[in-house]
Amino acid sequence: MVGRPEQDETSRAALGDRAYYSVLWVLGALVLVVAGIIVLNLSLVSRPLLAVTSPWAFVAGDNWDPVTQQFGALPFIYGTVVTSVVSIAVAVPVAVGLALFITQFSAPRLAPIFSIPVELLAAIPSVVYGLWGLAVLIPWLRTTVEPFLGRTLGFLPFFRGPPIGFGYLAAGLVLAVMILPTIVSVSVEVMKTTPEAQREAALALGATKWEAVTWSVLPHSRAGIVGACLLGLGRALGETMAVTMLIGNARNISLSLFAPGYSLPAVIANEFAEATDAVHVGALAACGLLLFAVTFILNAAARWLVSAVQRGPARVST
């Protein structure tokens, strides 16, 4: 007698479940659709470029002139790479030191307080960093840092030339500040997964705190720290506003870090709104596609490294 209504109820419940989880499935799959949309649109918009130039000529050519339809992106690629390398060289030692300080050397109760400045740095919008760079970094580089570097390290080709302020060095330094929070927070996460027993064993053997770090923490988290740096590098490659405001926006390739240059995001930011013909838009979109491909690979590698460390060595080897 009661069989029927009950059956109805369970079938209705099953229907509700099925509807709910189908909606969730669609929402989840949407993330993959977004990835598809990004790739598809970038390829479609950049396609007209192929009518004028080959991919190789685009990447290796150093002449960029929309009027005569010359699109060689080498100066932008070069500037992007140089500023990112400068930022990594400056940021990584500071970030790793800071992450070690937060996880190993500060009192555990104070650790959250020391990570506050890092979180604040991450919250500042990039256009504000650009504004700060214009007002503080550029004059400081022009009057103090670049003349000093020129006098002391001028025998190296990287530190020659007139101190202008605007250039690879300025952009690289502001990038270093901007990627610092990324590297610190990921490194802290990774270092926290070091088995406490390893560290305690080192200390029990009479190791100093620093030796405990070099014996247990660093070997355990090395791959994860590399991953953190790759994430930071990915951010540095694609960072737009601050670099556009500080790099000088000159289409040249120079060994000197003092010289003004250009970067891929900067040329997109400066020229996209004014680009009228499809080929020019296509060339700029191709710059975007290149950025997307490089950051995609870097991020994928970085996530893989970080998660490998977080899962622990036992499962990595299997």
Binding site: A13, G16, D17, A19, Y20, Y21, L24, L27, G28, L30, A35, I37, I38, N41, L42, L44, V45, V94, G97, L98, F101, F105, F114, P117, L120, L121, A123, I124, P125, S126, V127, V128, Y129, G130, L134, V136, T208, K209, W210, E211, V213, L231, G234, L237, G238, T240, M241, P265, I268, F272, A273, A285, G288, L291, F292, T295, F296, N299, A300, R303
Partner: protein
């Protein structure tokens, strides 16, 4: 004995170096905050928040339209981005253990690192090209795409924090799976998910690059989704790279307004997290 002293010295030196790294983060932070506040505060006035910008040389004028434009576009982006982002997060938390879940999670993490300027090009292709002109909608689409991947991962983490015993208790009472998920698990995770949303909104409000060639700019008030729209961040950029002193001053004041907006959202999210933790105890 000498090696012992050397080891202690090394320890001291390296500890000191790590502490110096803290200073390395602290100097730029205080410098940015100090300059924005000291250079920006003098320009704050009622007019600055409500008036339209004036041409170079004329005193006064404000960034009212840019402020409204930012709020408008971020609001529109929330309508698109928040449900999709949180929805993907719920999927990852509830059904994310299979191969599809792992792929989605990996993609969300990788996409959250895609440069914002690239997303700008995508929104340009999706909205500006078919509509043949720049619009607030295009800017919002760009911001929404930026929000989704990060929000998906963040809300997944916050939903997974909900204790499994709650789910079991609900199921044991005969509540269906979907009701348990929606009215028990999601309900419990609300504060956390709202926190994640606020942080995503704060990030979107500070974005400049994806707006440059989607929403473009506008000298006047605009409340239409299909017209070019001014925004706080693009205004700061244009004022900052201009050669005029009084425009530089405006850039600093606008930067102060932007930092206050972003700071407010961050503080609000922190307050929510703290309340949640108190409630849990």
């Amino acid at each position: 004995m000498r090696t012992f002293a050397l080891r202690k010295l090394t320890n001291l030196a390296m500890t000191g170096l790590c502490a110096v790294a803290l200073v390395g983060a602290f100097i730029p932070l205080t410098s940015v905050l100090y300059l924005v506040i000291s250079k920006g505060a003098s320009g704050l006035s009622w007019d600055f928040f409500t008036a339209l910008p004036k041409p170079v040389g004329e005193a006064g004028g404000g960034i009212g339209n840019a402020l409204v434009g930012t709020l408008y576009m971020v609001g529109l982006a929330c309508l698109i981005g928040l449900p999709l982002g949180v929805g993907a997060g719920v999927f990852l938390a509830e059904r994310g253990d299979g191969p599809l879940g792992n792929t989605v999670r990996f993609m969300a993490e990788v996409l959250s690192g895609v440069p914002s300027i690239v997303i700008g090009i995508v929104a340009y292709a999706m909205v500006v090209i078919p509509m043949h002109h720049f619009s607030a909608l295009a800017g919002s689409v760009a911001l929404a795409i930026m929000m989704i991947p990060g929000l998906a991962r963040a809300s997944e983490e916050l939903i997974r924090v909900v204790p499994g015993s709650l789910r079991e208790a609900s199921l044991a009472l005969g509540v269906t799976n979907w009701r348990t998920s929606f009215f028990v698990i999601l309900r419990t995770a609300t504060a956390g998910v709202v926190t994640a949303c606020l942080l995503a909104v704060a990030r979107a409000a500070g974005e400049t690059a994806p707006l440059l060639f989607t929403a473009l700019n506008n000298q006047y008030w605009n409340f239409s989704p299909v017209q070019p729209t001014a925004s706080l961040t693009v205004a700061i950029f244009n004022y900052a790279i201009s050669p005029y002193e009084d425009w530089h001053a405006k850039a600093w004041t606008a930067a102060l307004v932007l930092l206050m907006l972003v700071g407010l959202l961050n503080v609000a999210s922190r307050a929510l997290t703290r309340n949640r933790l108190k409630g849990a105890r």
